[in-house]
């Protein structure tokens, strides 16, 4: 194992440590999406620490397991900021750290509307071996992953990614449409992509009793995502697309578990992706950090 995967391990250690040291958890109400975003931001002052994995099959090459740790902080009720650390293991090859991302989401409107827009701005500093498939853009296709890790990591990518998130809630359902434009800061064209999602809790009314397995704690959904080419060749030609049912289980203890099998929709896509994740929300993280530096009064 390469020493470069230590940031991911550190992230996992951080999840465990903060979970132990944190104040009583808040019950999260998370959607099941892995790729699509809805318009709900992190509550102000809360930190959500998440770990996600993606296992992917590869035709004519080695299967892979990519993972990322995610630190999501509610800076205000209209601004959420997130920091990611990414890594991957390619079977019969190696394990490497592939980069970091800094993401920001801004709620545009004060009140709820039929369609709620959120602006998304992300900076990515990664290498060419990144395989987390957090989004699919441009002409990303399965054969891109055939290159060995040693070769792929030589490519350094500094990328800006913009998304317009349009999300609606209707009779317990959430519907979201994300359009994506990404630009490698080297001399590359703008690339485009999309993600669509729909989800609903299994029950809309809460139970009058404390329970872990109540249907209202489960949110089921489906998401579809893929590339839309680039500025020079916009469209579906030579792009990959996925359809993925997804399930989230929001435990009363403050943990959220997610699982999602994904299926490639054309021969440019990986045939199968298996994703899972665990997340925990820590309340009052901002105040905790403040106390750390100011001391108790």
């Amino acid at each position: 194992m390469s020493s470069f995967c230590w940031p991911v391990l550190l992230g996992l250690f951080g999840v465990s440590l903060l979970s132990i040291c944190s104040p009583p958890p808040v019950h999260a109400q998370e959607n099941p999406y892995f790729v699509a975003y809805d318009h709900y931001l992190e509550e102000p002052g809360n930190l959500e620490i998440e770990y996600f994995s993606t296992f992917g099959t590869q035709r004519n090459g080695n299967n892979f397991h990519a993972y990322w740790a995610e630190f999501e902080y509610g800076a205000t009720a209209w601004w959420t900021t997130e920091f990611y650390l990414d890594g991957q293991t390619t079977f019969h090859d190696s394990t490497i750290f592939t980069g970091f991302r800094w993401e920001n989401r801004f709620r545009v409107l004060k009140h709820e509307h039929l369609i709620n827009p959120v602006l998304y701005v992300e900076y990515e500093n990664k290498n060419g071996a990144d395989k987390i498939l957090k989004e699919v853009e441009g002409h990303d296709v399965e054969s891109d992953f055939l290159v060995s890790n040693a070769e792929a990591r030589k490519e350094h990518i500094h990328e800006i990614e913009l998304k317009l998130i349009l999300s609606s809630t209707f009779k317990g359902w959430n519907f979201t449409e994300n359009t994506l434009a990404a630009k490698n800061l080297s001399n590359s064209p703008w690339e485009f992509g999309y993600a669509l999602g729909a989800s609903r809790p299994l029950a809309l009314k809460a139970s009058p009793k404390h329970c872990t397995l109540c249907p209202q704690n489960f949110v089921a959904g489906v998401e579809m995502y893929g590339g839309l080419g680039d500025r020079h060749s916009f469209g579906l030609h030579d792009t990959s697309h996925y359809l993925a049912p997804a399930l989230a289980w929001n435990l009363p203890s403050g943990w959220t578990l997610r699982i999602s099998p994904g299926f490639g929709l054309n021969d440019k896509s990986h045939r199968f992706l298996m994703r899972w994740g665990v997340a925990r929300e820590i309340t009052g993280f901002g105040s905790m950090v403040s106390r750390l530096f100011r001391g108790h009064k």
Binding site: H27, G45, F71, K205, T283
Partner: protein, 156 residues
Amino acid sequence: MKAIAAALAVCASFLAVSVVLAQNQNADKPAAGATPKYDPAIYAELQKAPEKARNRVNPLQNDPDAVAAGAILFQQHCAECHGDSAQGSRKAPSLRAPEVQNATPGTLFWLITNGVVRKKMPVWSKLPEAQRWQLVRYIQSLDAAAPAPESPAPKP
């Protein structure tokens, strides 16, 4: 190594921003031990509910389980800021205040749904409608005149 150094630099910036934001949040807080006092203007947001929203009737008004379910939801999602007994905290106002207790169910539902984004209250439309109405039932079941219990109710 460059990537790791950059990652650490971003972590440090993230931490610094968190501290600044947290300190700003604390700047609003009264001294420790003091009873939080709220400017009546803080409840002015309730007046902004449109008439149509204000007149909505709680469909769970006669649901015998609504208050109990609402109490659990309150502990899970609201107590962190409004206090375990809805008595208010340094983060958010009391929900036992007459301004809240005299508001119509539709007004409270509207406020929970839309939040007060500019004043740190998030939107809660991610809770299904039925759950928001259960919360309204619970909030309205609180006796405004009765003092909040000394010790907070046990958490689930």
